[in-house]
């Protein structure tokens, strides 16, 4: 990447960060295109197609005849070669048309629209809480490496990380919903309303997600911080008599933060998969129910739309984190 001839001369020289942002965005778009192809081909390769499933379901035994199958395929547009279907899909995508469900015939946008919104609310809330918790506790325990505070945080983090999310969720339900009765055990959202209208239903799902993600994130931020704490420039700063508080805020934190955020991006993108389990446990009306249903019924347009949305989220998170790191690390920012 540093070999870009654009950067050795010309206008980009003086705005390396701007150039980098542009380049990263272009790379992100390229990756999105590649992902769209993979998603399409991947879903297309699923054994059996919607025609199979529909006929198997409607006919009581053994599925339809080959003629029925062929007719249904033609009706659903499944008989066209896949490159053509791919281009059609991309074309629709660009116009905001995700096609329609093969099973219900409703537009995919309708099927997943509100559900995707609900999932994003859940994931977003978890992320907004995760970043300060992970960065704060990670820095705090990294600076105190080996002292009691660090041991407690690190120990709890390992335990939380080791717990699968459905166990964490079940435990939380048992304690807060069944024993204490403080919070609802399931997080039902009436159609047409936003989960934010009843924030209490979000508490337990968010906590379940956090318990798994935070453990790993805290440990990563802590590892990076304790590396910085041992760096020569921190030791030298202390030998210059710079007060400890200042050493932490001006020497340790700025150097630990950039790389820490990059590590966090990994945790956040884990959400994309992890959230499915948590939604199921709490019967939360997010995308997971639709996704599982669509996979079972080979409802390809729905699967494609959801898979693509998840991939784009992941890409966006990583790109954003990369740019944040570059913005926070002078050496990267100035292109040295």
């Amino acid at each position: 990447m540093p070999r870009d001839p654009l950067l050795t001369a010309g206008p980009g020289r003086h705005h390396p960060f701007l150039m980098l942002c542009i380049r990263r965005s272009l790379a992100g778009i390229a990756a999105t295109c590649a992902v769209s192809l993979l998603v399409f081909v991947g879903t297309d390769l699923l054994p059996g197609d919607a025609a199979d499933v529909i006929l198997t379901r409607s006919a009581s035994s053994g599925g339809g005849t080959p003629e029925q199958l062929a007719a249904l395929r033609a009706e659903l547009g499944l008989d066209v070669p896949w490159p053509q279907r791919y281009l059609g899909w991309i074309g629709g995508l660009l116009q905001g048309d995700l096609g329609s469900s093969l099973v219900s015939g409703r537009s995919v946008t309708d099927v997943i629209g509100s559900r995707l919104g609900n999932t994003l609310v859940l994931a977003g809330t978890a992320t907004v809480l995760l970043v300060p918790v992970a960065v704060g506790l990670g820095l705090w325990s990294g600076i105190r490496q080996g002292r009691p505070g660090d041991r407690v945080v690190s120990g709890v983090a390992v335990a939380a990380q080791a717990l699968p999310e459905f166990v964490a969720a079940t435990l939380l339900i048992a304690v807060f919903a069944l024993i204490a009765g403080l919070l609802p055990a399931v997080s039902l959202v009436p159609p047409g309303t936003s989960p934010l209208a009843r924030p209490e239903i979000l508490v337990l799902p968010v906590l379940s997600l956090l318990s798994v993600m935070a453990g790993q994130s805290i440990r990563m931020v802590r590892a990076r911080t304790s590396e910085v704490v041992r760096a020569d420039f921190v030791r030298v700063a202390r030998l210059h008599g710079i007060p400890e508080r200042r050493v932490v805020w001006r020497y340790v934190v700025p150097n630990a933060l950039g790389p820490a955020l990059q590590l966090l991006a990994g945790s956040i993108s884990w959400l994309v998969g992890g959230i499915v389990v948590v939604e199921q446990v709490f019967a939360y009306p997010g995308i997971s129910h639709e996704l599982v249903q669509a996979i079972i019924s080979r409802d390809v347009p729905v699967v494609q739309a959801l898979a693509f949305a998840m991939a784009v989220c992941t890409l966006a998170i990583y790109t954003l984190a990369d740019l944040l790191v570059v913005a926070l690390v002078p050496k990267l920012r100035t292109g040295g």
Binding site: P2, R3, L7, T8, R13, P16, A231, D232, F233, V236, A237, R238, L239, H240, G241, I242, P243, R246, R250, Y251, P254, N255, L328, V329, P330, K331, T334, G335, G336
Partner: protein, 608 residues
């Protein structure tokens, strides 16, 4: 002593295994530079830290006291100590690249140290920072202040650390190997600057180093540290011209001299590690003058002249005998060659062009480099940092792709990248890298890593390769036990020898040595050079030796090529180039090279 700015009295710093420092007495007077010289493991860094009231993790100061400007530094609360650090005693670290905060602008880094000892609303902070920058001879314009550490040169980074140290006008500066890693020209600049700084600020300086030649030009007095004790102390001129401790004499003898293509004498062995120190004189195991009495108790320091103390029972004999002591060996002076003979030519580099890319710019590292290397010849590539030496080395071994030009080995043109070279071609050229720590796998044992080239490049069986590795480790004078250790457990000098052994495991014909001695103690350096000379005669090894140290070059190379701006600007037999350089670049390098000023006197007796 009254009037001393810093006093170290009877200091003992103890680690669980034994003492890192013991019975150390030193003083620094105002405006004086005290050079503390010692090999790795001598305790010199511990001593430097002790003056700052710090002991290495896991150790304690169990006896003695350290005072700077009348203020005790040991056994005070951290808060009190912080008040003194950077204000009455300041530290100049070894490696400025690592010592500067990568996320803070240069001007801020200096101001931050001023701020640590002044009220944050104090308006003098900025003026102090500016004055410090001026004293460190750095530009004070806003565009410089706003740069990040990675945007300034290595010499400037060093000056920034110097500015940080002087910003609060401390009474004592503690310099910890400040010139390691700088090329001779930058080093000469820094030393000149330190002299001016001392004259201007009037502070005392404690200069800790393994490089006697560098400190000789600046120190008023020298103290030689060995295994945690001061074995000799005295005025620089006296100590260098009439060393009274055999260790001092050997150390001085180990310094190669650029003006004479004379060999240096190796000092075999290493400083005994903490916990394995003999009950008597610690130097006894390496000493040519050892007697029974030496083994009983550490010899007490005794005055042998004005301000000249030495801790040796045999100090009267030192001057005359040490040079011919049985443990000290001389490297044979390379025989001067007239010109390369075509029939004997092994390696030919022809019109090599290479660029070194960083994210933003291209640096031309080689712009038409040509030279040839005979069998069993050593050619030195000499140049300041940034002259493209390392890139050329990497092109030769195929780790860097040249943009044009060829490298020929025994008449065959080699592929530009190692991937395009046959196994046997790879085997025949081996690189000993500048920083072995970067090229050794931290998770594998030394034995495995030294055995690897024999397995991969020479198809030896695992068992055979390991047996050879043990032999090679022995050949580079490392104890067999090292084979089972990991690189992290070794010292810099040991790692460098491991890297050498690893290169030799391939049984190469050409050894490309990239600044291999720059991080070594003079004594280890002399041993390594000695070893290379032996290997050259034993194995008929040809070498491309890259260095900025003229002394080293003088003692190993047959011919020298002086590089500047990616070109060979002067080439010729070593002696000729170093004695009468013709081009300005070569003259500047020769002029900047540190040397022992009193050597001529010492040599009158030892050269025969």
């Amino acid at each position: 002593m009254t009037g001393a700015i810093a006093e170290v009295v009877g200091v003992r710093v103890e680690a669980p295994g034994g003492a890192l420092l013991d019975h150390v007495d030193l003083t620094v007077l105002p405006g004086e530079v005290l050079g503390v010289v010692g090999e790795s493991g001598s305790g010199k860094t511990t001593l430097a830290l002790a003056l700052l009231g710090e002991t290495p993790p896991g150790t304690r100061a169990t006896a003695g006291r350290v005072t700077v400007a009348g203020t005790p530094m040991l056994h005070v609360t951290p808060a009190e100590r912080r008040q003194h650090l950077g204000r009455i005693v300041a530290y100049v670290p070894q490696d400025p690249v690592l010592a500067l905060n990568p996320a803070m602008r240069v001007g801020r880094q200096v101001a931050e140290v001023a701020r640590a000892h002044h009220d944050r609303r104090d308006e003098t902070i900025d003026t102090r920072a500016m004055r410090a920058l001026r004293r460190a001879e750095l530009p004070g314009d806003p565009s410089f202040l706003r740069r990040w550490p990675h945007q300034i040169s290595g010499g400037q980074q060093q000056r920034v650390t110097l500015a940080q140290a002087v910003v609060n006008e401390p009474r004592l500066l503690v310099l910890d190997e400040p010139t390691t890693g700088l090329d001779v020209i930058t080093q000469a600049d820094l030393l000149a600057q330190l002299r001016r700084l001392r004259d201007e600020a009037g502070c005392g300086i404690l200069y800790v180093t393994h490089d006697i030649a560098a400190v000789a030009g600046i120190a008023d007095r020298l103290a030689v540290l060995y295994a945690g004790r001061v074995v000799e102390e005295g005025p620089t001129s006296t100590l260098l011209s009439q060393p009274r401790h055999p260790y001092t004499a050997a150390l001085i003898d180990a310094v190669p001299d650029p003006r004479r293509a004379r060999g240096s004498a190796g000092l075999p062995g290493v400083v005994p590690p903490v916990g394995a120190r003999p009950s008597g004189c610690s130097f006894a195991p390496r000493c040519g003058l050892v007697e029974r009495l030496c083994l009983d108790a550490p010899p007490p320091p005794a005055h042998v002249g004005t301000q000249h103390r030495v801790a040796c029972l045999n100090s009267e004999r030192t001057g005359s005998v040490v040079v011919s002591a049985p443990t000290v060996r001389r490297v044979s002076t390379p025989s001067p060659r007239t010109s390369p003979s075509p029939a004997n030519t092994l390696l030919v580099v022809e019109d090599l062009h290479a660029v070194h890319r960083t994210r933003r710019r291209q640096v031309v590292a080689a712009a038409g480099i040509s030279f040839s290397l005979d069998r069993d010849e050593c050619v030195a590539l000499l140049g300041a940092s940034g002259s493209g030496k390392s890139t050329i080395a990497r092109c030769i071994v195929g780790l860097h792709r040249p943009t044009a030009g060829t490298v020929r080995l025994g008449g065959t043109i080699l592929g530009r990248s190692v991937r395009h070279r046959r196994r046997d071609q790879r085997r025949r050229i081996q690189l000993v890298p500048q920083n072995p720590a970067d090229t050794l796998d931290p998770s594998r044992t030394v034995g495995e890593q030294v055995a690897r080239p024999a397995r991969i490049l020479r198809r030896r069986s695992a068992r055979q390769a390991v047996a050879e590795a043990v032999e090679l480790l022995d050949q580079v004078r490392l104890p067999t036990a090292v084979a089972a250790r990991r690189p992290g457990e070794l010292s810099g000098g040991e790692r460098q020898r491991v890297a050498l052994a690893r290169a030799l495991a391939a049984r190469p014909e050409v050894l490309v040595c990239d600044e291999i001695t720059s991080a070594l103690d003079v004594s280890v350096q002399a041993v390594v050079l000695d070893l290379l000379a032996d290997l050259r005669t034993e194995l008929g090894l040809a070498m491309v030796f890259i260095s900025h140290d003229l002394g080293v070059v003088a003692s190993v190379a047959d011919r020298v090529a002086v590089l500047a701006d990616g070109r060979v600007c002067e080439t010729g037999p070593t002696r000729e180039v170093l004695e009468s350089p013709r081009t300005p670049v070569a003259r500047q390098l020769v002029h900047a090279a540190p040397r022992l000023p009193y050597r001529d006197v010492a040599d009158a007796t030892s050269v025969s």
